[in-house]
């Protein structure tokens, strides 16, 4: 959608862009804080205890207290750590999630029956771009772990590579299957083309492969060998203190939220609503985005609940799972998706 701007307002456009960008970053950090709160409360429910309950009502301000604590901690650096890698790793970790945020639509509004997706940019290859950019975080993790001059972090670093290399392939193939069936790589098109028959019913195997590979990509249990607390103290982020740790921690949770958005958009039908809601003037503004947020929260709760309900794999079993079990399933799903796409298209 293009907005026509009168000429006397043209010099203000860069300022407007900057403010909108900052507001979006603020929203996403608040969203990450909400995800951390949800994790702490949900894990407490699974273990029949209460999570944060004293700071603010229902513990909602606990994250603010944690952020203040992280800001006021002393910033330590190990003696022989590599300065270049150690200081600049946060850029890669956060840069990867913000670049993902750029192309991901967070909702849509229906004005007069016409759909306007809310995305910062709309690209023709947005799914491929999101895939590629989410893999940049591996550089950040390796820079931290290798530059820390710590044996535990080193073990975590190499485990990280083994895991990421194995799981990018099934992730990519399952995304390509969805794109092949729909006929476009634009995430807005994939989401709208689902209508009311979601992709999870058409490609259940693809959804399963995508979900498992996404959990491995994000580094969540049962795939968090690089930060396994029982063997490696804190794994790759052992030597980071204060806000450096805070930024890495937030990057992981933002990645989790964006991953849930991907699952909701690609497989759970995005923001599609029945026709009568879309044509309604008031509901058309809030219902599609609200529906999408509900689906995202549901996927988030599944991801968080899985972390606290299952044990952890060993690193060689993780690699074994990806190459020997997920890759053939992903290829099988690709064949099925192409066949189904031809049948539906014809």
């Amino acid at each position: 959608m293009t907005i026509v701007v009168p000429e006397y307002l043209a010099p203000l456009i860069p300022w407007v862009r900057g403010i909108v960008g900052l507001v979006l970053i603020g929203f996403i950090f608040v969203g990450a804080m909400g995800a951390v709160w949800l994790e702490r409360k949900l894990s407490a429910d699974i273990q029949t205890r209460m999570g944060p309950c004293r700071v603010g009502k229902y513990g909602l301000l606990q994250l603010v207290a944690d952020a203040i604590k992280l800001f006021t901690k002393e910033d330590l650096k190990p003696l022989n750590a590599d300065s270049l890698l150690f200081n600049n790793a946060n850029i890669f970790m956060l840069g990867s999630v913000f670049l993902m945020l750029v192309a991901l639509p967070v909702g849509a509004v229906f004005i007069n029956g016409v759909e306007y997706p809310l995305a910062v940019t709309q690209m023709d290859i947005s799914v491929l771009y999101i895939e590629a950019v989410s893999a940049l975080s591996i550089f950040g993790i390796f820079m931290v772990a290798y530059g820390s001059n710590n044996k535990y972090s080193l073990l975590g670093a190499f485990r990280n590579f083994a895991r990421m290399v194995g799981y990018e392939v099934p992730l990519g193939i399952s995304v390509i299957s969805v794109a092949a069936m729909t006929g476009s790589l634009n995430i807005v098109d994939i989401s709208s083309a689902q209508g009311l028959h979601w992709n999870i019913f058409l490609q259940p195997l693809g959804c399963f492969v995508f979900f498992v590979s996404l959990m491995a990509d994000m580094g969540r249990l049962p795939f968090d060998q690089n930060e396994s607390e029982e063997e490696l103290i804190a794994g790759w982020i052992t030597e980071y203190c204060g806000m450096r740790f805070g930024l890495g921690f937030f990057a992981e949770y933002i990645h989790m939220i964006l991953g849930s958005f991907l699952v909701a958009l690609l497989f759970l039908g995005g923001w599609n609503v029945p026709g009568f809601i879309a044509n309604n003037s008031v509901l058309g503004l809030i219902a599609p985005t609200g529906f999408l947020i509900v689906k995202v929260v549901f996927v988030l709760m599944v991801i968080i609940g899985l972390r606290w309900a299952v044990p952890r794999f060993r690193i060689d079993q993780v690699v074994d799972l990806s190459w020997k079990k997920l890759l053939p399933l992903a290829l099988l799903n690709l064949v099925w998706a192409v066949g189904l796409g031809l049948y539906l298209g014809a």
Partner: protein, 136 residues
């Protein structure tokens, strides 16, 4: 595959939490809980068996008046809470049964200076309020 774990986890979500909201709700103590000892001054003969039995030598026998405001003094035990194990051996070994178990374990016992931790016979007989002197 991992379904039983997930089912058990979901079933736990519906159960009430087991956390105790201390200090708003004090913990429930069993009947035989051993807190600070209670001294019965009328039964104590000042023999010192409790002081000999204590594994940590936390009991000293000191002179104290037999009632508040009285001028007659006898020998009574004084317990150093900083060293007491709350094992109850002094209660068991007293030949006259002058010591028994109270239920105080935190309120009025947590003090800042060491001299406040010496529970004099007046405090043990509960003639003096325990919580006074609870300042930082």
């Amino acid at each position: 595959m991992v379904l039983k774990n997930i089912k058990y986890a979901i079933r736990n979500i519906t159960r009430p939490p087991v956390t105790r909201m201390y200090p708003e709700k004090p913990s429930e103590l069993s009947d035989r809980f051993r807190g600070l000892q209670i001294l019965d001054k009328s039964k104590c003969i000042g023999c010192g068996i409790c002081a000999n039995t204590c594994p940590n030598a936390a009991i000293k026998i000191v002179k104290a008046p037999i009632a508040p405001g009285s001028s007659k003094q006898r020998w009574f035990p004084q317990i150093d809470i900083g060293h007491c194990l709350f094992c109850g051996l002094c209660i068991d070994q007293c030949p006259k049964g002058a010591l028994s178990s109270g239920k105080e374990y935190a309120k009025g016992l947590v003090k800042w200076h060491h001299k406040d931790l010496l529970m004099t016979p007046e405090k043990l007989a509960r003639e003096v309020d325990l919580e006074k002197g609870d300042e930082r």
